[in-house]
């Protein structure tokens, strides 16, 4: 089980308190009606799925309830850092 640092609570807590929110820093369409099919495909379905350094969202579901971002290595599962939502990607 992962030990995850919540940047809002500023505590290391077990993974069962958290819900993974998938790839981070995916911008929502600002003007959806102008989006073409390939742009929708890209936004909805295409994912980076990297082997190595990965930006992902987590939600401290059974804690403060807030979303934050994390950088984790997908081979070792080791967290590099976690940071608050809205901050630029690290």
């Amino acid at each position: 089980m992962l030990l995850i640092h919540c940047p809002y609570c500023d505590e290391d807590r077990p993974e069962v308190e958290f819900a993974n929110g998938g790839q981070a820093h995916i911008a929502r369409p600002t003007d959806p009606s102008t989006y073409s099919d390939p742009e929708w495909e890209e936004f909805l379905y295409i994912r980076r799925n990297p082997r190595g350094r990965h930006h992902e969202r987590w939600r401290h579901l059974h804690g403060c309830g807030r979303f934050f971002n994390a950088v984790r290595d997908t081979v070792t599962d080791r967290f590099e850092t976690t940071y608050k939502a809205g901050e630029p990607a690290r």
């Binding site: 909805l44 994912r47 799925n49 082997r51 599962d77």
Partner: protein, 417 residues
Amino acid sequence: MKRFSGFNLIGEAFRSHQGWPEHWPDKAPKAAYDAIIVGAGGHGLGAAYYLASKYGITNVAVIEKGWLGGGNTGRNTTIIRSNYLYDESAHLYDHAVKLWDGLSQELNYNIMYSKRGVLMLAHNVHDVQSFKRHIHANRLNGVDNEWLTAEECKAYCPPLDISPNARHPVLGGALQRRGGTARHDSVAWGYARAASALGVDIIQNCAVTGIRRGADGAVEGVETERGFIASKKIGVSAAGNTSVVMAMAGLQFPLESYPLQALVSEPVKPIFPCVVMSNTVHAYMSQSDKGELVIGAGTDQYISYSQRGAFHIIEHTLAAICEIFPIFTRMRMLRTWGGIVDVTPDRSPILGKTPVPGLYVNCGWGTGGFKATPGAGDLLAYTIAHDAPHRINAPYNLDRFRNGRLIDEAAAAAVAH
């Protein structure tokens, strides 16, 4: 290849079985092939075998970064069934089940396909309605699936607890009698041996590091740890690592790779006669011919290539097993392991051509690829040989994520594939 037969067995018995040759020779790569398959799991080896046996392309290499059958082929719970809801899925999975029949004879290798039946338990009214809908849809597609009452479930699988005050009461179940299990390693070994006998080169411990493309964009071959290997046709069957391989060709795929765990108990005498799945409480189990209870757990919630999962997933699964089968509460578990499964947004595979000419893909089988092994191999081989998909795998194209024609088994299959 020396055929396995009663005659050869008796002959070898007179000379202490010293005359059996190796199943397949370990080959060094040639400079060029007519087709290359990336990934020597059941699906990839199956594709190579069918390319050589059915579609007349024998100058084929299967390139594997680890050892043959060491990925998800050696890490699954060996369940075979085809009782999927949608027409496209029923056709695809039933194509595989039909090929499982007779595969031991075809490959001259005992893959131990056992039609012991797959029983899916219904624990609430929603399950009952959903399973009956599945049964009707399956029958329209010519796929056997039948409804059993709770008492009939108990008769079919005596260790079940069907008492009405159980934590997860059994209201009935859907039984596919043609479903069952096969010996996973034998499937890979059988395909490897048969393909090798037809001239296919199996190259292990040779990771693909790049895909070379020409000026027109078409593939020219693969860069590997043992040098460049040329081929105009490349089929990728790399399961959890598909995104990594596709990135070498400049493609991003609608895939995410998750750890999926399984575990086995200590071996005991035969007690569990079939495969039981309970999607609501997320547990599924069978007993191997060696006597171990083979139990499938769920995926972890995060992307990982670590080939191991978290222990609380195991705990959750065993809690459900103990509720449904109180007889096993004191059983000891021997081993747990994880494999990396590539999951698509609609939980259906991608099997066909890619935007890159000469590059074909078989991926996205998620948590349920083993059952499809012969079918996926055959259809990937067909697609490579004809440069066009078979009508069975035509719906499983990459374009569906653009045009919206998803095959949404994520909702229809009620979880565990």
